[in-house]
Each structure stands twice: as structure tokens, then as C-alpha cells.
Amino acid sequence: MSGVILNNVKKRYGAVEVIKGVDIEIGEGEFCVFVGPSGCGKSTLLRMIAGLEEISSGDVQIGGRRVNDLDPKDRGAAMVFQTYALYPHMDVARNMGFGLSMNGWPRDEVDRRVNEAARILQLEPYLDRKPRQLSGGQRQRVAIGRAIVRDPEVFLFDEPLSNLDAELRVATRLEIAKLHGTLENSTMIYVTHDQVEAMTLADKIVVLRDGRVEQVGAPMDLYETPDNLFVAGFIGSPKMNFMALDNGRLPDGTAPAVPGAAGAATLGVRSDALRPVESGGDVAGEITVVEQLGDAVFAHFRTGWGQEMVARFEPGTRLRAGESVRFALAGRTHLFDAEGRALRAAAERLTA
């Protein structure tokens, strides 16, 4: 029983409300990712679970206990900070064992746990180095090791990869995924602004915006059936194309072949749901930029009404800026009402 439940949680700094009533249920052993743009309150929420920020109102439960008034150390949660926050004057072993030693654990038990964590994280050769003698990735692993030795019910990660370079970020992401496999029963809550991290790591994603939950769900659910414009635009790369609809017509007056479009205010279509056609089609434009990614080609084009959109082409497709292109909608399309809420009826596949 180490699930985490947030119940109408709010956080106010003075008169400013930064967390505006959040309900989340995270099951035991689940890997949950909070994702959202910078400043939306992810860290604040995580720190409230950790006990580093007071909870203005609402309840936080860990493992079935209400922990609002418990000290961080009594909540059974361990945190990995974005900046690692290693103790600079202690070696790696001491960094990991410090908390246990200070709480009167017997020395050989501390050593045993530190060695175990070092083994899992492949830190054994570095146990007597100081943090400054380690690379960024190694420091990050020490920070994770410090959490592991405490054998917490809940791991809390606050953007743990954002100080690493791109290559190391991917490698460490895999490490964390493996770690979650190793520590089966540990619940993990992971904060990031990077939707790729969220998609790759999460069992469950919580999309936050401006102190509110926009949508909770499995990664592919969010990708395929976003609840609203914000989630649709935030999850997935490149960003979903949005076109304004007026009585079922695009700004240039054509009517796209989407059932139910008449009642929608916005039509959303991902880059891979635009199929190039010789003539006819639903959208036409002129290519402005071509991005070759190797396994795909992304063509940015400007529509007749001056909007920038992006379409995916098969690798190897030759395209030039200035070329005219036409597309048919050939895949999942998304319709949203004037408030930005998804209209579910449109989520069915087209076979055009």
C-alpha cells in the first residue's frame, strides 16, 4: 500500500494561488509523470507531496495515511533534485549513507545498503570520490542512490535529466526506466516539462497547466484522444496542426471531409495524418522549410490563408522549399469546440 492520492490540493503563496485544486490518484508501483510547461506548478506539487512545501488546503495521502502534517522524513518518500543537491564535501558512499547514519542506523547496515545501491547504479568504482570528481551522469546516479538506500515507498524526481546533455539524457532515461523495473513495488512520481520523457517513461501521465490538471491517462490515450486543445498541442512532436473551422469550413472556404466538423470550432490533425495527393485533397500550401530527420522528413508549409503547418513524409522523399503541396486528411482527426474541449465523435478513423 504505497499509492499516492491527492485530494483537492491547493497551494497559495500569499494571495496568489499556484495550485488550484488538484485530484490525482497514483497506484502502488505506478510510474506517474507530471508534465506541463515551465511554471505550471509541477515542482510545487511534487514538493507538497515530499513535505517541503506546506499544503494550503486539501489532502495528500501516501500509502493510505494522510501526511499533510507529517515531516518529510516520516512520509516514506525520497526525492531526487534537479540540481542533484549532493553534499559537496562528502564522498559518494557518505552522500548516500548520510541520512541513515544520522538517524542512528548501525554502520554495517548502512554500508550494506550503500553497496547494494552502488551495485544497482554501477557506482562501485566511485564510492570514495567527491561529487566534483564525477561527471554529470554519475552525479545524477549518486542522487538516485541516495534515494534508493532509504528504501522509500515513493520516489520523487524533479526534472532529474534537465542538467544532462542530450545523449546522456536518453541513456539516463533508460536507466530510470530499468530502475523502475527493478524496484517493482516503488511508486515513482516524475516531474518534467519534456513530453518525450513523459511519453517514454510513464504508466500514467498527468498534464498540468497553470495549477490545474488538464488530463490524466496512459501515454497513448493522451496522444490519441486528448481531452482538449492544450493536451493535444502539448503531447506529441511535432505539435499537432490546428485549423479554425467556421460552420464546418476552413478559412479558405473549403469543407474538409471530417464527419461532425460542422459543430466544431477547431480541427486538429497530426503531421502523420496528412497524406500528400496530386490533386484535390483538403489542405494545400507552399513548402517553407524541410527538416530531414533520417527516419522521417518534416515539411513545414504555409496554407493559402497564411497558416504554418507541418506534415510528415516518408524518409527519402525529395522536397524543396517553394514547392506546392496538397494533402488529404488520412488518419485520426480531432475536433474541438469553442472552449477547446474535444468532441469525441470525431475521433473515429477516416479511410479516405
Binding site: 513535505g51 522524513k73 518518500a77 526525492m79 544520522m102
Partner: protein
């Protein structure tokens, strides 16, 4: 060489920057000038050390810096008869005590001022800065009164306590600045680890402030060791309690000044300070640099 230089000048206009001095020559010149300034600076100390090995007669015989017949008499006389030995241990007591008290108090106050939200902090710090502008001459009598009223007016403990006050404001600010710029995640990590605030201060924050600690120890040692006015006032009626700086001064007799004894006593006074500085100078300079950077 000369040919090449000549032919070059004849074809191309000489470049001014190269014409005057090569960088190497310039460095040498600068070194010589600095060495000369340094010599002027160091001369009084060298003279004092030299004089301490001369007899009173020779000191004013203008015999140069190397004593004709080096003697240790001045030192034995100063240590035994002039009580410098006693004064030495008085000074040591006052210095060590005040260094311990000052360092701990300044670190604790600096920690609170640098890291904790406390009401009226700005006003408090402003008040502390204000005290820096009051010369010691104005406060010495009230301080003495204060010591007397708590029964420490005639004791080394009183000198020790009052000596703590000289620079504690500056030290507190040094610590506050240093602690203030430490990332808050360090303390939070420690909190998540279940370590209480006192242990966090002792095992995490304090060890990290080592450069400041060394700076404070060195500066307070210098101050306490060399302090003159305060021990003079407190020990006026009590020669047994004199510190070195006051003791050295007392070599000035009514009709006769024992220059030999006085210089020997002075040498005894400054040697521990020089040793301390040699020993700690690297940390000390690091600490000052760190404080400025921070």
C-alpha cells in the same frame, strides 16, 4: 641580428609598442620596483628582529642590520624579568577564547540571517552595520563599565569577551553572505534524509563554510593578539593581566627605554602571528576571494 633589425626599420615604419621594452624586460622591471616597495615595507620588521639580537649599546651605534655580536640576552630578559612569558599566555588565553566564541557565534548568527526568514531582518542588519561606524575610542568606557557591572572588569575573561565584539558584525555578514548563496536544495535534501536542523547545520552547512571559518579565525586571531586599547584599559590597575601588546609598551620606562628588551618582546609577539599566517594563508586567501565572489 643587428642587420636584420636595421633592414626592417629601414623598410617598414618601426612599431611603437615593440620599440620600448620587450614583455620580458617589462616583467623584470616591474619585479624590481615591487621588490623595492616590498623592502621598504619589510624593513621595520627586519630592523626590529635585528635589534632584538643586539645589546642596547649597539642598537644606536649604527652597525648595520647584521649584529656584531649576536646575543640572546634580550629574549631571556624579556621573557623572565619583564614578565613577557606571563603576558604571552594571557594573550594566548584571550585570543583562543575569543576566536572560539566569535567563530561559533558569527556562524550561527550568519546562518540565521542568511537563510531564515525572520521578521525585521533588514532593520536588524542595518543596526548592526551602524555599529561599524562607531570608533572604538567612544565605546571603550561603556564597554568597561559593562564588564565591571557583570564582575568581569578585572579579569582576562572580560578582556576575552570584549575582544569578541570588535569585528563580529563583519564576520556575521561574511557568514550570512556565504550561507545565503548556498542552494536551498542542500538543506532540503538533508531534510528529506531525515536529518534535523542542528545536525544539518553542523554536518552540512558548517563544513561547507570552511573558507569563511578560516578567514574569521585568522582575522580574529590578528585582532585579539594585537589589540591594544581594550586590554590597556581593562588591565590598567592589574599588571598581571597584561597582554603582550600592553606588556611591550611597558618597556618604556620613565627615564630609560630598554630597546633591546622591547624589540625582543615584539619579536616574541609577532612570531606566532607570522607562523599562523604562513600555515593558513592559502585557505585565508581562498576565503576572502570566495567572500568577494559570493
Amino acid at each position: 641580428m643587428a642587420d636584420a633589425a636595421l633592414s626592417r626599420t629601414s623598410f617598414a615604419p618601426p612599431r611603437r609598442r615593440e620599440a620600448w621594452l620587450s614583455p620580458r624586460a617589462r616583467r623584470t622591471l616591474v619585479s624590481i620596483v615591487l621588490a623595492a616597495i616590498c623592502a621598504v615595507w619589510v624593513y621595520p620588521i627586519v630592523w626590529m628582529i635585528s635589534a632584538s639580537f643586539k645589546t642596547n649599546g649597539e642598537i644606536f651605534a649604527d652597525s648595520g642590520l647584521i649584529p656584531d655580536a649576536p646575543t640572546f640576552d634580550n629574549y631571556t630578559r624579556a621573557w623572565r624579568e619583564a614578565n613577557i612569558g606571563q603576558y604571552f599566555f594571557n594573550t594566548l588565553f584571550v585570543t583562543v577564547g575569543s576566536v572560539i566564541i566569535t567563530t561559533i557565534a558569527a556562524a550561527l548568527m550568519g546562518y540565521v540571517l542568511g537563510r531564515r526568514p525572520i521578521p525585521g531582518k533588514t532593520a536588524l542588519m542595518g543596526l548592526m552595520v551602524f555599529t561599524l561606524f562607531i570608533p572604538q575610542g567612544f565605546t571603550i568606557i561603556p564597554v568597561f563599565e559593562l564588564l565591571t557591572s557583570v564582575g568581569l572588569g578585572q579579569s582576562l575573561w572580560g578582556v576575552m569577551l570584549a575582544t569578541c565584539g570588535h569585528s563580529i558584525v563583519i564576520f556575521t555578514f561574511l557568514f550570512a553572505g556565504y550561507f545565503g548563496q548556498m542552494p536551498k536544495e542542500l538543506e532540503e535534501a538533508s531534510r528529506m534524509d531525515g536529518v534535523g536542523p542542528l545536525k544539518t547545520f553542523w554536518y552540512v552547512m558548517l563544513p561547507l563554510s570552511k573558507p569563511i571559518i578560516v578567514t574569521v579565525i585568522v582575522m580574529q586571531t590578528l585582532q585579539a593578539w594585537n589589540d591594544f586599547l581594550l586590554p590597556l584599559v581593562v588591565t590598567l590597575a592589574n599588571p598581571d593581566l597584561r597582554t603582550l601588546s600592553v606588556g611591550v609598551y611597558s618597556f618604556r620606562g620613565e627615564h630609560f627605554i630598554d630597546w633591546g628588551g622591547m624589540t625582543a618582546a615584539s619579536a616574541i609577539t609577532i612570531i606566532p602571528i607570522i607562523l599562523l599566517f604562513l600555515f593558513l594563508q592559502r585557505y585565508f586567501i581562498d576565503g576572502l576571494a570566495g567572500a568577494v565572489k559570493g
